[in-house]
Symmetry: C2
Subunit: 232 residues, 2 copies
């Protein structure tokens, strides 16, 4: 089929990067898409690793009046994560730390994206919501197009000064870098990526938005494109 990848390039090893105060729906939306659509893959398996900084249990971000525990148990740490073809990165309050606080996460993302420490470069990196802030700070978005949560627009876009930030986008595909907008946009974005990798007939099993510029939140939040700073 012309609309899907050659079999030799089909990703098999997926990683979900979780960290304290990630946004729960950012992570769950794309994983739901993979859980469901993997029923329809032909001659492909996917193997998901759930990766946290030190293999600790992690809890998502909650409101100030929320008590109780929501605990996610990882399969790997940053240090022992297996070779990965696709890395999925949610957003959330956990992306707002300083570069120093987030250094291990940023190093992991940069190394895996570029290929380092004996690992092949990622075939795809996929961020949801403010997960793109981690990509920007890791340098992955330099000289690329990207988007992010429109409610965090003015916070995130300065972290990618060499990036063309696209306001009116539920998701943006820029080579092997896919960034999606707020929270539920990750669902539609992942369905689009599944369509690219496994064929559109698989993705069509999922009810979804298929127009990446269908994003009412850009206008609602008064977001305009942000262009890369000129190197002058």
């Amino acid at each position: 089929m012309a609309d899907k990848q050659d079999d030799k390039d089909v990703p098999q090893s997926y990683g979900l990067l979780l960290f304290p105060q990630f946004e729960v729906l950012d992570a769950a939306g794309p994983i739901e898409v993979l859980n469901v659509l993997s029923n329809y893959f032909v001659d492909s398996k996917i193997n998901l690793s759930v990766i946290t900084p030190n293999k600790d249990l992690v809890s998502p971000g909650v409101g100030q009046n929320f008590l109780g525990n929501q605990l996610y148990k990882p399969t790997h740490s940053l240090d022992d994560a297996p070779p990965l073809d696709v890395l999925i990165i949610p957003g959330g309050r956990g992306t707002t730390g300083t570069n120093e606080e987030l250094r291990h996460l940023l190093d992991f993302i940069r190394d895996r994206f570029n290929g380092a420490s004996g690992h092949a470069p990622l075939k795809y990196v996929f961020s949801i919501c403010t997960g793109s802030d981690l990509l920007a700070r890791a340098g992955v978005l330099d000289d690329r197009r990207a988007t992010t949560n429109k409610r965090a627009w003015t916070r995130v876009t300065p972290d990618g000064p060499k990036t063309h930030w696209v306001a009116n986008a539920r998701w943006v595909e820029s080579g092997r870098v896919w960034t999606t907008s707020g929270v539920t946009a990750g669902i539609d974005g992942m369905a689009a990526l599944v369509g690219k990798i496994y064929g559109e007939e698989v993705a069509q099993k999922h009810v979804r938005v298929t127009d990446p510029s269908n994003d009412p939140f850009a206008e609602q939040n008064g977001c305009k494109d942000v262009l890369p700073l000129r190197n002058t």
Copy 2:
């Protein structure tokens, strides 16, 4: 404020019931709503317990080509769960077992809903997707209105022969029983319940569908209302 509950009736103890092969997004959607909107509660806290049958780690349902682990760590078992005001029940393949296989879950739901074993009756039970099948089999939907995932319509509705099953509904409120339609409808339904409990001004912080009959999946799947069997 006239549009929210008296403070004395405001729920404080929430339970999320998880079981093997639950649908990951069914659970994550409403929890995301609570995580976010609990920032805006006034004079209210919510305390969430995550409850699994034997306090085992549970994994959601995945496709036949999906490998790897997605592990959720509970805080309680069915036997040691604390007093609850609200019980949230996702759907998924895990709801398709026999009544005998699901007996502990069904007993727990029935006992907590009705008030048994020294516990006060739930203030609300809230199901997502085919979680309503568990409610139906526990008898909770008898003489009530309810809905479910439109793709599972013909499987689920016979399990509630005394129920008026509403086809064109993203969610249905029937007293203290709230049932929602497929997967993401749980997000809008939970926002509506938050509006009822904590006031509409809290719920409006969330971008959402506010018309419960806004459900294109009913027509798409050819679902018509199913009325209770007459006791003749």
